[in-house]
């Protein structure tokens, strides 16, 4: 165990940066510089945390100097440091894309008093959610993150955006209040909200009560992660936001839900055997999501449904609930954060070149924008899991875990393969409809059938560069698959053993 102040920085730096961008509200360049340098610093801190956590065990920071079960702790173990690193890298790329899109749309000198501060606050919320070792702080982290996302999704509102914003805000509030209920019930039952402390105390509760609490946790985080019966809000709200915002939400927000589920399921409610409920949910999520995607004509909605479908893959690893399954989920989350954000960024570029999100009205874009065809093809094939890509590595880890888990998990592993093939069909169909065929003229921006307002035909090099950088990250994940899966395997072992986390937070008394 290492005690240090490092885990505080990923939360503190973006918050201070947000304040600084408000102060620098008149200078667009100062805001951009602050945003990019803060996120780069957080990425550096996350790298150090990952190395430390991997070498010496979880890095713990006691906020305010209060020791663990009483005070709030921030814990960076292998899983949270890894997710923090990849999330910050993706956030940074999205920020570069967003800054450049704003330059293209509103001019070089337009500063914003909301965009930059809110973007950094969102990043602080995501960091806190990954790092906190306290159930109530997790609630606060979700609220910081969601409040920032409400603002981002309803900025520059028109009638469509306000509709999707309302759906999103209402459903998120409902799930937040359910989360608060869970915290209240957990505290009433155990007298603590510290995650490491809960690990011991929940085990002493009656089985019925444990089941109730575990189910509440699944529903609460299930809404945030968009697991299938609870997913309806996602394809309705995400596609209407501007491309960088959608990319950020799709990459990070649902995955934070998955992380919360992963942390609470392994630490507080470990089952020790495959969970039938989660297996069924995973299978239904994968199939419903991908079939929903096949029915869509709107590019962004199609990608949103694919996002829902791939949440099912992560739930599958969690459902297997042995070390291999958890490690598979961790690897899948890392891969999926990158690839889903990339797809939405590239979709933003496509939309700008064609003036529409409707697949029926696109065609022949490969002749006008060959680079875009490649930029879309690589993450699309990665998402489907075609062999040399990171998607293949992550899916292989999940399938191996599923094959070792018994007959029930083997059946769902078959569904994983089926859903991957259907994903491949969906993305190849999109690619053919967008990039092949007769070239079409870009539609004017005030197209009445189109629900989005985009700056048609105005793209710039940094937007391509940011998307290309994320494609490079996902290729790098595939290249570094060996060391990376070694880390996630160790993370999976840690999570299933539970001892490293508890000892790090509570001292030697935390060992069972």
């Amino acid at each position: 165990m290492t005690t240090s102040l490092l885990p505080v920085l990923p939360v503190l730096l973006p918050l201070l940066g947000a304040a600084a961008t408000v102060v620098a509200g008149r200078s667009a360049w100062a805001q951009r510089a602050i945003g990019i340098s803060v996120l780069a610093a957080v990425a550096a801190v996350a790298t150090v945390l990952l190395v430390q956590a991997d070498r010496h065990g979880p890095v713990v920071s006691e906020v305010g100097g209060w020791p663990a079960p009483v005070g709030i702790v921030l814990v960076a173990d292998r899983l949270s440091a890894l997710l923090l690193l990849i999330s910050t890298v993706v956030t940074l790329a999205v920020l570069v894309y967003a800054i450049d899109q704003r330059i293209v749309d509103y001019g070089r000198r337009t500063a914003s008093t909301t965009f930059h501060p809110i973007f950094l606050v969102l990043s602080a919320g995501v960091s806190l959610a990954y790092l906190t070792g306290d159930l109530f702080s997790l609630f606060v982290a979700f609220e910081i993150m969601l409040a920032a996302s409400y603002v981002l999704i309803t900025r520059r509102t028109d009638a469509t955006r306000i509709r999707s914003g309302m759906t999103y805000v209402t459903i998120s509030l409902a799930s937040s209040l359910l989360f608060l209920t869970t915290v209240a019930l957990v505290y009433a039952a155990t007298g603590t909200v510290n995650l490491a402390d809960l690990a011991t105390r929940v085990a002493d509760l009656p089985t019925g009560l444990q089941t109730v609490l575990a189910l509440l946790v699944v529903v609460t985080f299930g809404i945030k992660a968009a697991i299938v019966p609870l997913h309806f809000w996602l394809p309705d709200s995400y596609p209407n936001a501007p491309a960088p915002v959608t990319a950020l939400f799709a990459g990070l927000l649902t995955k934070v839900g998955i992380y919360a589920l992963l942390r609470t399921r392994t630490l507080i409610f470990p089952e020790g055997h495959p969970s039938t409920l989660l297996l069924v949910l995973a299978a239904v999520t994968m199939i419903v999501g991908v079939l929903g995607a096949l029915a869509q004509n709107d590019l962004n909605r199609l990608l949103s449904f694919l996002l829902v479908s791939h949440i099912g893959f992560m739930i599958f690893g969690l459902a297997v609930s042995d070390a291999a399954g958890i490690a598979g989920t961790a690897l899948y989350v890392v891969h999926h954060i990158t690839v889903q954000a990339t797809l939405f960024l590239v979709s933003g570029l496509i939309t700008r070149r064609t003036g529409t999100v409707s697949l029926d009205k696109m065609g022949g874009l490969a002749k006008r924008a060959p680079l875009l065809a490649i930029l879309f093809a690589i993450p699309a094939l990665t998402l489907a899991g075609v062999p040399p890509t990171s998607g293949f590595v992550a899916k292989l880890a999940l399938l191996q875990a599923g094959a070792g888990g018994g007959s029930g998990t083997a059946i769902v592993a078959g569904i994983v393969v089926l859903a991957s093939l259907l994903t491949l069909y969906a993305v190849v169909r999109v690619w053919v409809r967008v990039f092949w065929g007769e070239p079409r003229e870009p539609l004017p921006d005030n197209d009445p059938d189109d629900e989005l307002v985009v700056g048609t035909a105005r793209t710039s090099t940094p937007m391509y560069a940011a998307s290309a950088a994320l494609v490079a990250v996902s290729v790098a994940i595939a290249v570094a698959a060996g060391p990376l899966s070694a880390i996630t395997t160790r993370a999976g072992d840690d999570l299933v053993a539970r001892t490293p986390y508890r000892t790090a937070v509570l001292g030697d008394g935390g060992a069972p």
Partner: protein
């Protein structure tokens, strides 16, 4: 483990049912009231986790903790109250913006979703030959689409 009195359990249950009922309404004002009521329910539950009502959360100097309430849930509830308050304000602003932009504060159906559903029904009833013109069918009968579209209908009334 803390147990709570029946009266308090009933109050919490009523607040939750009223809150969720209002949350399921179309009008954003009712949703807002639902969030407020539900927030009260959740905060009351959080308070009750600290012990029976009417006990002070302060030590009296004797070091005797027998008649005390647990102060932590009260601190948590305080945080949660502030968050709920902020969200309520935000929803109010959103409702106002919706009223300015579309003339009412009702949450609308997803148009693209309806378009896809309608395209399927038309295809099924007209057979295979319209398959390629599916998108036109969805968009073209604009009058039929607009009449059940609450945006335009309420705008007319206004």
């Amino acid at each position: 483990m803390t147990t709570i009195s029946l009266a308090m359990a009933v109050v919490v249950a009523v607040l939750y049912s009223v809150g969720f009922y209002l949350l399921l309404q179309r009008s954003l004002m009712r949703v807002l009231l639902g969030v407020v009521v539900l927030g009260h329910g959740a905060n009351l539950l959080l308070q009750l986790a600290g012990g029976p009502p009417a006990r002070p959360p302060i030590l009296d100097g004797t070091g005797d903790t027998a008649g005390l309430a647990d102060p932590l849930p009260q601190a948590l509830a305080l945080t949660a109250v502030v968050i709920t308050f902020a969200m309520t304000t935000y929803l109010l602003a959103l409702g106002y913006r919706s009223w300015v932009l579309v003339g009412h504060d009702e949450v609308q159906d997803d148009l693209e979703d309806r378009r896809i559903a309608r395209r399927r029904t038309v295809k099924a009833s007209m057979g295979e030959e319209v398959e390629e013109t599916g998108d036109e069918v969805g968009v073209d009968p604009g009058s039929a689409a607009a009449s059940d579209d609450p945006v335009t209908s309420t705008a007319d009334v206004r």
